[in-house]
Subunit: 351 residues, 2 copies
């Protein structure tokens, strides 16, 4: 081994504490952030990655495009309100939309387990097709690998996506300003609870359906109307809590929200209580927060509420400056509480 060989550099993560990868490293919380900040960003060292937003913004000739990737390892493959196929399309479409881009092209990379029923693959592929058609994106390139029985869990899908920017500028956390209102597009936690309930065979009085949906229509409607949006973030792994903590950390700004204004369906609240989950940290697949000037809030509500998907949109708080950036919440009993980034352990493999 010479001095420049990869293995002569030592890993910057605290190997003593985490000698191996744990499920929490993929949970969208603190451990995943450590991995990204200490392993991926120093290695790839790119301003695009360091920006830590849902998509990269890159130049190609005279055009600027959004480029993003996501792998989907959800279990079970089919759940109330969706399946791994529709999830793999909407998930990547939403990452493009959150940057202010109109999704155009997707890739589809399949890792299949030997023994997977052909009919299961067929159903997933049909679901991807329906989802792509509904958004108006084309799946233009693909790849299929098969691994031995027991080396995968039925099937995993990676989708990467390319999109074109709708407005003049990409939406990035850097645009967020003190005083911005924080808008939430609907109630929280349906996706995580729906998948969890299906996986664990839990029966609630009413079946909770995932909120899985394309956010592209809502985002394009806002941008086409010229609403001044500073930043958007979809609330997937780690939920609202991770999204707000990441943005606060990245921008150096504080975010204050009011618990009483955060909408939760009764059945989701009940399920979280039974399962001991924090609904703010449960994953969603069709919800976002938007940061925008207070003066744009009324027009935003008008546009969002014209679509059933944005019917539950509310203002949950605002952006402040503080000596040290933090996310705080006024609880229902009127106490202000500092919110911390979740560890990422609570709900593995929900996307």
């Amino acid at each position: 081994m010479n001095e420049t060989s990869p293995s002569s550099l030592s890993c910057p993560l605290p190997i003593d504490r985490y000698p191996t990868v744990t499920l929490a490293h993929g949970g969208g919380g603190k451990l995943m952030n450590d991995l990204i900040e200490r392993v991926f960003i120093p290695a790839y060292g790119d301003s695009h990655l360091a920006n830590r937003h849902d998509s990269a913004v890159v130049e190609l000739g005279r055009e600027r495009l959004a480029f993003t990737t996501d792998s989907f390892v959800v279990t079970p493959l089919f759940f109330p309100g969706g399946d791994v196929g529709s999830l793999s399309v909407y998930g990547t479409v939403n990452d493009l939309a959150m940057c202010g881009a109109r999704p155009l092209y997707l890739s589809a990379g399949f890792i299949l387990e030997e023994g997977l029923p052909m009919d299961t693959l067929w159903r997933v592929v049909q679901s991807m097709k329906q989802a792509a058609d509904s958004v108006g994106v084309s799946i233009v390139t693909g790849d299929t690998k098969v691994v031995d029985r027991g080396k995968c869990d039925s099937l995993y899908i990676n989708t990467s996506g390319v999109g074109a920017f709708v407005g003049k500028h990409p939406l990035t956390p850097d645009n967020i300003k003190e005083g911005d209102s924080v808008i939430l597009s609907g109630d929280l936690g349906r996706h995580g609870i729906a998948v969890m309930a299906e996986r664990e065979g839990l029966a609630f009085e009413t079946t909770i359906e995932s909120d899985l949906a394309s956010l592209s229509g809502l985002v394009c409607a806002l941008l086409d109307a010229g609403v001044e949006i500073h930043c958007m973030r979809d609330l997937t792994r780690g939920g609202l809590l991770s999204a707000l903590c990441e943005i606060s950390k990245g921008t150096g700004l504080s975010i204050h929200i009011r618990e009483r204004d955060v909408p939760l369906a009764e059945e989701v609240r009940g399920a979280c209580e039974i399962l001991g989950l924090d609904p703010l940290a449960v994953a969603n697949e069709g919800r976002f927060v938007a940061f925008l000037p207070e003066g744009e809030v009324d027009r935003t509500f008008e546009i969002l509420r014209a679509d059933p998907l944005g019917g539950g949109a509310v203002c949950i708080g605002n952006v402040r400056t503080n000596e040290r950036p933090e996310v705080s919440m006024e609880t229902v009993i009127g106490v202000s509480r500092i919110l911390m980034m979740p560890s990422g352990e609570q709900l593995p493999r929900i996307c």
Copy 2:
């Protein structure tokens, strides 16, 4: 279930014969082609996919770009001449290069197994970085998922890539013409045999190293010099045999090659004999065939041979018209033999 639900459509593959996915469905041969033609293309129904080339060619505003994806599930992760990290970069870079595109941006999607040593991940990430730096591509967006122990084989990587076209037109099989020469960039089979030997603990007299390399430099040198290339294809899963059979089938043209002109290292020939493998169907990760007019052959050799990677370039045959398209080979004993698409069973998980 209503009538438009995905599962009400039946799978067009012969479920009786292949009720489940087999390793051969990922082998780059006949079964993988069946899957693509009967499941993926009808579903996604897009001219980009139907084109069946290494990358899709898509429009974005005033620019045309190449877009491709590949997942890497090679076992073992480290092998003589490379590892899953460098493979995941060069593999996708080569798919872009084969379309005549200069690789610009890559995504990196990791699926990690719970319990993976953090140091292994670190080595793979460093190797990706070195490979990307050597080609001049940026890894701009990423994703990390963790699955439970036993639901993956250490780690899988998906890379997708975006590139800009170097010449006036993308290189596609449609450009191939009767009379074109078939140029092979070097000797065959090193990658597949290197991985297989490492996996199975086989010891040969000399260690066979993978031919894994970026082909982007060679391709850009040819295109920058204005060489008229009609089509290129890298010789990964299914090797030279799959590549020629796919191209012949796709274009309706016949391809004739001469066995004596196909270079094979002695140790690869010996290993293939011992293992009962057809060297024409063994995977390579740094070799391509190019189809170009006979008048361009000398200039092509001059450019290729100026680079050690193209030092072994040879002309192995030409393109013909026939009543029915076929790939034929004049064997070393002077007999002409029709070559068939391999089934895809011979070497699983080499990329």
